[in-house]
């Protein structure tokens, strides 16, 4: 048992957990943040993707203790003041989901790729989605949602700079 201190969605938290607690269980069962899903539990499907210090990771393949001192962001932390994040908004607008189970991981992965990869096109988006599986096979609209969100976020950023 260890005491773990970390920041989750901007809120500092200190919590006791067994050393073998995976980050995804800390989020879901200790903190009640069930928006992060467990799909395969074998690091393939990406439903559990969260951001640790700004980078997408699979929270089923990381121990909570490894997140000591880290800044963790989950799907619950994206909307601000009742307004959806541009990527959430784009998934809604382009119907980038069918059953919705993979959606939290898709959105966290999408935000990470939009931050990292310049000039995202459909081929790059599909390559970057390597680690996220949608078993409704709804990739077409997911790719469109990410493509449109990337465009919107880049024009918003330009607007702010101007």
């Amino acid at each position: 048992m260890s005491s773990i201190s970390l920041t989750v969605n901007g809120k500092p938290i200190t919590i006791d957990a067994e050393d073998r607690t995976l980050l995804v269980y800390l989020l879901r069962e200790h903190l009640g943040l069930t928006g992060t899903h467990i799909g395969c539990d074998t690091s393939q499907c990406g439903a559990c993707v969260v951001h640790v210090n700004g980078r997408a990771v699979k929270s089923c393949t990381m121990f909570a203790a490894q997140a000591e001192g880290a800044d963790v962001a989950t799907i619950e932390g994206l909307a601000k003041d009742g307004k959806l994040h541009p990527v959430q908004e784009s998934f809604r607008e382009h119907h980038g989901l069918q059953c919705g189970f993979c959606t939290p991981g898709m959105i966290m992965t999408a935000i990470d790729m939009i931050r990292r990869v310049p000039d995202l096109d459909r081929a790059k988006i599909r390559a970057e989605l390597e680690g996220n599986i949608c078993r409704c096979t709804g990739y077409h609209n997911i790719v469109t949602a990410i493509e449109e969100a990337a465009k919107r976020m880049s024009s918003d950023a330009k607007g702010m700079a101007a």
Binding site: E18, L22, S43, V57, T61, M62, A65, Q66, R116, N132
Partner: protein
């Protein structure tokens, strides 16, 4: 899935990690954990202690030196893929790193972890062997030709920690793999490197461990072109045969990937 219980400990330095490893015979190092944690969840591994070395700054660097690129064992796959120095000096190594797993895995997995584990389908061993890299541990240096000793097996002694890997800069190099359509692990991955002292060809994924193909090396030394390897016979008797493909199929994949790797190098 919940692993067996263990004690987690964050190492404060390389010396601290060595001492902690020595203190518990069943302790294991935790670097990126992208293989070890999966194995622990399946209860295929039961370390008494995990000593987390992922935060050690002394293992986390990428340096361009005269004639070589030196990469710390703790460098993550995405750092190697994104490194300006690696992309400039050995672009094939950067693109290999970008082809490992997926973005989330690349944000965690490390060079040292991949080499110490020596999965027979891992990508890095092909680059290390083909480039004739040198593995540095906290006690010695090991040539790539002596490092990989078989499936999940290396020349590392008990408690020996990889600290960095030195990659000589080749004149040309290329890597091509045929990923399994489901798992995306290499069914055959071929790294080809042309250096002043000759050509080296290393194959991962197709056999029980990474291996060189001397016949391809000789042919490419005479004529560094994709056609030069097209008719090299690859002996299937030592290759893997499973539901994904026969040994003969893998032998033909090795030739196809070698051709692509040479084309990528040109």
């Amino acid at each position: 899935m919940i692993p067996y219980a263990f004690n987690y400990r964050r190492a404060t330095s390389l010396a601290d990690a060595q001492a902690a490893l020595k203190a518990s015979p069943d302790a294991k190092l935790l670097a990126g954990g992208q293989t070890l944690i999966a194995a622990m969840k399946m209860r295929l591994a039961q370390p008494s202690d995990l000593i987390d070395i992922s935060g050690l700054k002394e293992l986390s660097f990428i340096r361009a030196e005269a004639g070589q690129i030196v990469i710390g064992a703790g460098a993550k796959h995405f750092e190697v893929a994104d490194s300006t120095d690696v992309r400039r000096a050995i672009p094939a190594l950067a693109s290999l790193a970008y082809s490992i797993g997926d973005p989330a895995v690349r944000h965690m997995g490390t060079l040292g972890g991949s080499l110490a584990n020596n999965d027979p389908a891992a990508d890095y061993p092909a680059a290390v062997l083909a480039l004739g890299a040198t593995i540095t541990t906290h006690t010695r240096t090991i040539a790539a030709d002596d490092f990989f000793t078989g499936m999940f097996s290396t020349a590392l002694d008990e408690g020996e920690i990889i600290t960095s890997v030195s990659f000589p800069i080749p004149e040309r190099a290329g890597y091509a793999k045929f990923p399994n359509p489901a798992s995306r692990y290499a069914m055959a991955g071929v790294f080809v490197a042309k250096t002043k002292s000759g050509v080296r060809v290393a194959v991962t994924g197709a056999g029980p461990g990474v291996f060189r193909v001397p016949e391809m090396e000789a042919a490419l030394a005479k004529n560094f072109a994709a056609d030069a390897v097209a008719n090299i016979a690859v002996d299937p008797s030592d290759l893997n045969s499973d539901i994904h493909g026969s040994a003969e199929y893998r032998a033909s994949l090795v030739i196809a990937m070698a051709k692509r790797a040479v084309t990528a190098a040109l």
